[in-house]
């Protein structure tokens, strides 16, 4: 039997071993980046003192998690069935974040909801448009007009 799964991860890999190793790597990265800040002395700790201490702690805990990882589930046992949709949702929200200030709150929310309901969830166009416009304008009215929350306006004051 092959030692590698379809995704390329070896079958014997366990989730705690992987996550522990990632935390050790992050700890090393933080410690490396922390060189830019003075450590100070024990009686006068500098801005780099605490981040270095925390990076060391993260590395130690990550190492313990990885070393004690034989009893954790195999990586292959994690179900990623919803991951595709999760990525699409994140990308949709990312585009909305880009558009929020130039296009304004209402146009952005209309576009995001049309994408989520019409494209991702494949709802009927009329329902999609009604929900998208209704949500964008009602939520703007409640938050911006009634509650005075500052929300960006786009072209034509929308």
């Amino acid at each position: 039997m092959s030692e590698s799964s379809a995704a390329g991860a070896p079958r014997s890999l366990r989730i705690d071993r992987i996550s522990g190793a990632v935390f050790v790597a992050i700890a090393l990265l933080v410690a490396w980046e922390n060189r830019a800040y003075p450590l100070g002395t024990l009686s006068e700790p500098g801005p780099g003192y605490m981040p270095l201490g925390l990076a060391v702690a993260l590395g130690v805990f990550g190492l313990i998690v990885a070393l004690r990882g034989n009893a954790s589930p195999l990586f292959d046992t994690i179900s990623w069935t919803e991951s595709r949709r999760a990525v699409v949702v994140l990308i949709g929200c990312g585009v909305a974040a880009f558009a929020l200030e130039p296009a304004g709150y209402r146009l952005t929310m209309i576009a995001l909801l049309v994408f989520m309901l019409g494209v991702v969830e494949r709802k009927r166009p009329l329902v999609t448009l009604l929900v998208a416009f209704g949500f964008a304008f009602i939520s703007y009215f409640v938050f911006a007009t009634l509650l005075n929350v500052q929300l960006p306006r786009g072209p034509w004051g929308l």
């Binding site: 024990l42 313990i64 994140l90 500052q150």
Partner: protein, 506 residues
């Protein structure tokens, strides 16, 4: 005693003003809705409403947010009992016996006992809060930087010990949260750390984008695409009345759940979640017929529901008395107070008596509002659950973006939320608890400041942490927790968390 009653009268004179009553009511309604909707727990609900409180006076702001918090605790039970869907994590245990009761046609009494238990626990714990918070605040005036360091370290260790799953993994998350808290300007030296030229990061990472990302968005990423929930049962008002036997069997669990929940609520962590797990375990253990648990035991609803509501109130004790949040929810509420220029801490009760006692009194009012809301109007609220999830989650996403952006009118905050959402999604897949990240982020500046001040005071000697009695006591408690955590490893015995079923949540 007379002083407390006088202060409470002052509180009621504030809480019973029409505007505060109205906001308490609005908070409870929003909280109930938020608690019922999967994907929006109390934390996401409070975070989203935070920007709307900026224009309000601080008392109204905290009353509104507190209403959302304990409203969500109440609301979560409805979906758990009627549909086996925990609206928020603390209701997971209620699902087991609550839904079994619904299947046996006793969903109405289960809802009634959950509401009565929540009301009793909420009221009992507000009384305890009223007496304990001022005492703790006056005691905390003796605290210097070493005591605060010890308190924060102990808090993080208690959180790690109490949370479900591995203590090391929880500590890893807490340290990751503390590291996130290092981003931004160092208050003592003025250095800007880890901001990589992004001006918005100079102020550090805010709790709201992190909380909404970790808890709201990651939940949506995990659940988007799930099938539409099954049809909802709507019990009529007369079906809500519990039998005499059910009432009798619920009294003990409600009292025990209230005491236990309040005590667990005071210590840091996801107290309301933990308390419901522990309460369920204890009730199962104390029962003469433990085999009834899982098949519709009323004690399995009464205990956890009382415990999670009592814990929600208990969490306000350190927040109000010490200015230290015990979890992400209280952290966001502290942020709401600080926006108004009020510094939480031991002096808050002395300097802002209207705020403290008005808040305490509003909690009594809120409990009554929720009892009225939850029982007769349960049929109205469950209609919300008829909306298919495929329509709900895109709307929740939009609310997440709206809420996060409007805190500081910053798109960078939206990016942080998206990053945290992705991170939370992956970490949950790998079995990590996310609450310590949010708590670590909030505690990081306090911990760093107190450690550095302590070392400056002692001329660089760590001995200062072991010379002062209060600090030593706290470190001893922290050390004992580590030893308790090591015990099952050394003696191969079962951990207490496994015994009460807490490890099932991870």
């Amino acid at each position: 005693m007379e002083g407390v009653l006088g202060n409470l009268l002052l509180g009621f004179s504030v809480a019973l003003t029409p505007s505060i009553l109205a906001y308490a009511f609005v908070g409870c309604v929003i909280g109930t809705l938020v608690g019922m909707l999967p994907g929006l727990g109390p934390l996401a609900g409070i975070s989203l409403l935070l920007p709307a409180t900026f224009g309000l006076n601080p008392i109204i702001a905290i009353v509104l947010l507190a209403g959302v918090y304990y409203g969500a605790m109440y609301g979560g039970s409805t979906t758990s009992i009627l549909m086996r869907i925990p609206g928020e994590a603390a209701s997971v245990m209620t699902c087991i016996d609550g839904y079994a009761m619904t299947q046996r046609g006793r969903g109405g009494p289960a809802l009634a006992i959950a509401a009565i238990g929540s009301f009793a626990a909420g009221t009992l714990s507000v009384i305890a809060l009223m007496f304990l918070a001022p005492t703790l605040a006056s005691f905390a005036l003796r605290f210097g930087p070493p005591e605060y360091t010890a308190l924060l370290v102990m808090g993080l260790l208690v959180l790690s010990y109490m949370s479900g799953g591995s203590m090391v993994k929880t500590l890893t998350m807490a340290v990751a949260g503390l590291l996130f808290g290092m981003i931004g300007i160092d208050a003592m030296s003025g250095y800007t750390r880890f901001s990589y030229g992004v001006i918005e990061l100079s102020d550090g990472i805010g709790i709201v984008p992190v909380a909404v990302g970790l808890f709201g968005l990651s939940e949506i990423l995990l659940t988007a695409g799930q099938p539409t929930p099954p049809p909802v049962q709507k019990p009529a008002l007369r079906q809500l009345v519990p039998s005499r036997d059910e009432l009798r069997m619920s009294v003990g669990p409600i009292v025990r759940g209230s005491v236990l929940g309040f005590l667990i609520g005071i210590i840091p962590g996801s107290a309301h979640i933990i308390s419901s797990f522990v309460s369920y375990g204890i009730e199962r253990r104390m029962s003469a017929h433990p085999e009834r648990f899982g098949n519709g035991a009323i004690e399995g609803v009464a205990g956890p529901e009382s415990a999670n509501n009592a814990a929600a109130t208990g969490a306000f004790v350190p927040m109000l008395a010490l200015g230290i949040p015990t979890g992400p929810v209280t952290a966001v509420m502290l942020a709401a107070i600080m926006v108004h220029g009020i510094l939480p801490g031991p002096m808050l009760i002395v300097e802002q008596p209207e705020l403290f006692w008005g808040f305490v009194a509003s909690m009594y009012v809120g409990n009554v509002v929720l009892l009225i809301l939850n029982l007769p109007l349960v049929g109205v609220f469950v209609n919300l659950l008829r909306i298919p999830y495929s329509y709900l989650y895109p709307a929740i996403l939009c609310f997440c973006i709206l809420g996060v952006y409007s805190v500081a009118s910053s798109v960078v905050d939206v990016w942080i939320m998206l990053g945290m959402g992705g991170l939370g999604y992956v970490l949950r897949k790998f079995g990590y608890d996310l609450a310590p990240i949010a708590l670590g982020l909030v505690l990081a500046p306090m911990l760093e400041l107190s450690v550095r001040q302590s070392l400056a005071m002692s001329g660089g000697s760590f001995g200062i942490f072991f010379e002062r009695p209060i600090a030593v006591t706290m470190f001893v408690v922290a050390g004992m927790l580590i030893l308790f955590a090591l015990k099952p490893l050394v003696f191969k015995s079962k951990d207490w968390r496994a015994e009460v079923g807490l490890d099932e949540q991870g």
